[in-house]
Subunit: 250 residues, 2 copies
Amino acid sequence: MHFTAETSSNGVVERHFTLGESTGVLWSPATANTGAPLLLCGHAGGMHKKAPGLVAGARYSVGTAGYTVAALDAPGHGDRPRSERDLHCGEAIHRARAAGEPIAPIVTDYSRWVAERALPEYRAALDALLALPEIGADAPVGYAGITLGVVTGLLLAAADPRIAALSLGPVFVDDALLELAGRVTVPVQYRIPWHDSDFDRASALELFDALGSTEKTLHAHAGRYDQVPATERASAAAFLAAHLGTGVPV
Amino acid sequence: MHFTAETSSNGVVERHFTLGESTGVLWSPATANTGAPLLLCGHAGGMHKKAPGLVAGARYSVGTAGYTVAALDAPGHGDRPRSERDLHCGEAIHRARAAGEPIAPIVTDYSRWVAERALPEYRAALDALLALPEIGADAPVGYAGITLGVVTGLLLAAADPRIAALSLGPVFVDDALLELAGRVTVPVQYRIPWHDSDFDRASALELFDALGSTEKTLHAHAGRYDQVPATERASAAAFLAAHLGTGVPV
């Protein structure tokens, strides 16, 4: 893990890093907070490690709960090279949008293909992050993501026992994702929009039902995916704090 | 409004009262908190104003948020006389349970009949409570309830503009309730169990969809209606605090 740049604002230190082929960013409190929870974030498909919503959530988690937060660019995203398939997928989505056709069939296959390759990268990043003295090997680890980031998070939680809780947003659902969800057993909070033509309710409810977790909650809110009430953002933070603890000294 | 008994424990003052034919209870912080939010609670069918879950929630709201909390016995419940229909309904539910039949058809008609008569009682109690100097005419008012208490709460929110937010639990749904929900416009958080043979998912989702509120959230949790995760209880409190404020001095 090589840190390549460091900036600081409003009490939050932001460090870019590379690890093998992956490119990432780490947000930490300005004062060291060893043992505080580590939150891994997975960006949406087509976005990158510094997507505005992800950055806002990360800074909120650092500022209010003393977390350390890390995000990686998924393969073919952000600062990383695009393959032929990455480029084709983007074009196919644009064509489907223009034609008023559903994008889910395109997105689900592509997301799984990307997330399968993101999985070992997240696990390697977790090894490296927990080895940092300012995080510490015993830091509780959670994961938060939307769309592509949900697929990655489910793969990660199914494969890596270090993930203690998942805070998920909307995702495009197919049978493969339902099967994967059944292998997840950690506590999950799954937030979905109730009025969004991209994310149909029935498949979201199927995914919630399929989750293998004993403790799971579905939070549906009126409006589209980007119209999350402030109470729901706070509820996601409270869910993570309940399962990971907080990094705020008491 | 006549106060008939007063006790105090753990910083919470509990006062019983009568108002016309209704019997109620008021929980307040030991130190006066004029202008703090007032939360009205509606108990489940067959229960009463001091149902264990209601009391626990009330004491939590007083203790952590500085609220004043009031609950009434619904007609035919608690300290109030039973009519023939009250007695018949109870027997019909017991028979249906014993026969393994669904109780929803019995409960929905009965609940509406009870709640229609509870409505003017809650409004009169609200008049009397807001006239108390320790509450004050400008106190923000919310409402929380389950089953029968949901029906009462929806009627109250549709009829009385003083109700600013609703925190609802599971309820038996029929077409009349869906119609009523469409007339509710205040923010609602609606909590449902995902695995409860009494409360089917489809009708719960229909009720959520029918709510006329611009801001509404559905919180589904794994397990039965009485297996609410602590994070969901906290989320309901945070929802009310977001819409009513808190009575805790800042």
